[in-house]
């Protein structure tokens, strides 16, 4: 057999070192066990109160889409420069705040009529532009210099940026939550006895196209290819003529834009803004990104939807820990994933060649 043929067989048959095989088996069993427990819990609740379950589930799913928009920002940035942009959640918060002012204060819209709808669409574009632009500035002034520094440095800087953004939030919003009128319809409709809010549907109609648009940009456009190349190997990308700085800025812009959209959607569905919104939801979104596999776009969406549903079920179901344990549940998930399966659900566990 030729050398090449031998190698081909080796590749096909390769299952991993004994350690890796064992590890995969443990992960599989753990996953099955956890999954089964979760199933049992879910089934109990379905039997207990089916309509409530459905409503809570739908709500959770809706939140999951919201988290997905934010989580994508985390995962895009981490994928390209291996930085956890701590300030990303606060960007979302500013997006929500911006949208509030844009719709209510600057354009004075409060009703769900044609003007309201148009304002909503305008706000969507404006919020995305605002947050995208802000993110570009943040990258340029806070992170760019630290690109070759040890990870601890930009991490600390990111925390600092987060605090500054929260300060802006405090000044703009005030230190207590504020309520805003919603230009989206507030009514509900019922399906099979389950009441669904109209704005859930609208959120779906905004989020899904955005996600599809993102997928198209990343896979089909030149900038998207540049992003993926830079994510894989920055120096090689630079040698291939890719303007790495511009590509990274572009990534931040997209991530920011999605956060801005999420901010608008959040503000219009819940009608509130608060300066520490970013911290709470940011961590949830980050957990989603890690759950799905950091750096993996589909993973971010999958993880976000899962977390949204889990959180929704936990908060809303009668047989559950309840909302006051919500953060603990999400953080416990984060810790468990990072300790036991840092690659997440869809990520690859790579063995690095040192």
């Amino acid at each position: 057999m030729t050398q090449a043929a031998v190698e081909k067989v080796a590749v096909r048959q390769y299952k991993g070192t004994p350690g890796q095989i064992r590890r995969r088996r443990i992960e599989l069993t753990a996953g099955v066990v956890l999954g089964s427990l979760a199933m049992v819990w879910i089934v109990i609740n379905i039997i207990n109160s089916p309509t409530q379950f459905a409503q809570v589930f739908i709500l959770g799913f809706r939140n999951g889409l919201l988290y997905a928009l934010i989580a994508l920002g985390y995962t895009l940035v981490y994928g390209i420069i291996e930085l956890i942009n701590f300030a990303h959640g606060d960007l979302f918060m500013l997006g929500a705040l911006f949208s509030s002012y844009f719709i209510t204060v600057w354009l004075g819209q409060e009703k769900s009529n044609l003007a309201g709808w148009l304002t909503f669409l305008a706000a969507l574009i404006a919020a995305m532009a605002f947050c995208g632009g802000l993110n570009i500035l943040i990258e340029r002034f806070a992170y760019r210099r630290l690109r070759r520094a040890p990870k601890i440095a930009p991490l600390i800087t990111a925390v600092g940026v987060s605090f500054i953004l929260q300060f802006v939030g405090i000044k703009w919003n005030g230190s207590t939550p504020r309520n805003w009128p919603k230009v989206l319809p507030q009514s509900e409709f019922t399906v099979l006895g389950v009441s669904v809010a109209w704005n859930t549907v609208i959120l779906l109609f905004v989020a899904v196209p955005l996600l599809l648009l993102l997928t198209w940009v990343v896979t089909k456009t030149r900038q998207g290819k540049a992003m993926r190349a830079t994510a894989q190997d920055q120096d090689a990308a630079r040698l291939m003529g890719i303007d790495v700085n511009r590509t990274i800025s572009f990534t931040f812009a997209i991530g920011g834009a999605l956060a801005g959209a999420a901010g608008l959607l959040y503000q219009q569905t819940t009608g509130t803004t608060n300066y520490n919104l970013g911290f709470q939801l940011g961590l949830i979104a980050f957990t989603s990104a890690v759950l799905g596999g950091i750096g993996n776009l589909n993973g971010a969406v999958l993880g976000a939807v899962l977390i949204g549903i889990i959180q929704g079920l936990n908060d809303g179901l009668p047989i559950a820990l309840g909302q006051k344990w919500s953060q603990t549940v999400v953080f416990t998930i984060l810790i468990l994933i990072m300790v036991f399966k840092p690659a997440g659900l869809l990520g690859k566990s790579t063995t690095e060649k040192v």
Binding site: Q3, E7, A10, Y14, T17, P18, T350, T351, K353, V354
Partner: protein
């Protein structure tokens, strides 16, 4: 020069797979006591990977490594270091912001015994231990010839002295085997010659076996008692310098088939 029959290291049937790439393919390799052996091969031959298996950085997909009568295949790197396998790095990896003697003291970590309590309270035993460690460090630094830089920050040393410090630090582990990873990289022929003498001196005075990974053939030929050649993950030759020098397969591996058959371009 006949090699001792007693083996200080015995690696058998080592294979290392990364994903689908077989970096090391069924290589068996041993190091006799107090010998100086070399591992050579063209780039990508798998030398560094194999080296990393010996030091515990990688776990092989197959095979085992024996250190004396103890299996070390699955031990973590710091454990392997503490039982007597010390290495230097191809790109110098000194602790630049620590002094030369501090670098050595770090290497003595596993041989020192003081815990948190005795360190905080500075018990007489801890003080004695620290003093002895410091004396030992100074002695090693003198031996390698950089004694006068003992209190100098490692990053301030000249390149040659930094290389010596790397060896000194490895010696501070009180090893039975010293693994030197391309120690003469960046040296001119004269410096390499000095280094060859240095290797001999180390072997004789410190009672230690030495494994060298090297690209500089003159160094390899002049210092090795036995040379092992890897190519594309496999061991293709092993023997004395004379045997290797005239080995057909080795020449082919380095220079390509065309050159060995005399058909130059």
């Amino acid at each position: 020069m006949t090699l001792s029959n007693e083996l200080v290291l015995d690696a058998s049937n080592i294979s290392v797979q990364f994903g689908g790439l077989l970096a090391v393919n069924d290589v068996s390799f041993n190091i006799p006591k107090k010998s100086v052996v070399s591992l050579i091969g063209p780039n990508g031959a798998g030398k560094t990977t194999f080296f990393n298996v010996l030091t515990g950085l990688y776990k092989p997909s197959e095979g085992k490594v024996m250190f004396g009568d103890r299996e070390i295949t699955d031990l973590p790197p710091h454990k392997i270091a503490s039982i007597g396998l010390a290495r230097t790095f191809q790109n110098i990896r000194l602790f630049g912001l620590m002094t030369a003697e501090e670098n050595l003291l770090v290497a003595m970590h596993s041989h020192l015994k003081s815990g948190i309590a005795s360190t905080i309270l500075r018990t007489p035993r801890q003080r004695k231990e620290e003093k002895e460690a410091l004396d030992s460090a100074r002695e090693i630094l003198d031996f390698v010839g950089i004694g006068k830089w003992a209190s100098e920050y490692a990053r301030n040393l000249s390149y040659g002295d930094q290389r010596r410090l790397e060896v000194a630090r490895a010696l501070a582990l009180k090893p039975e085997i010293l693994l030197l990873d391309e120690p003469t990289a960046g040296m001119n022929p004269q410096e390499s010659g000095v280094f060859v003498d240095f290797v001999h001196r180390v072997r004789d005075a410190r009672d230690v076996a030495i494994l060298l990974i090297e690209h500089d053939m003159s160094v390899v030929m002049s210092v090795s008692e036995r040379i092992t050649v890897l190519d594309r993950g496999e061991k293709i030759a092993e023997g004395s310098p004379e045997e290797i020098r005239s080995n057909q397969r080795v020449i082919e591996a380095y220079l390509g088939k065309a050159a060995s058959e005399g058909r130059g371009k």
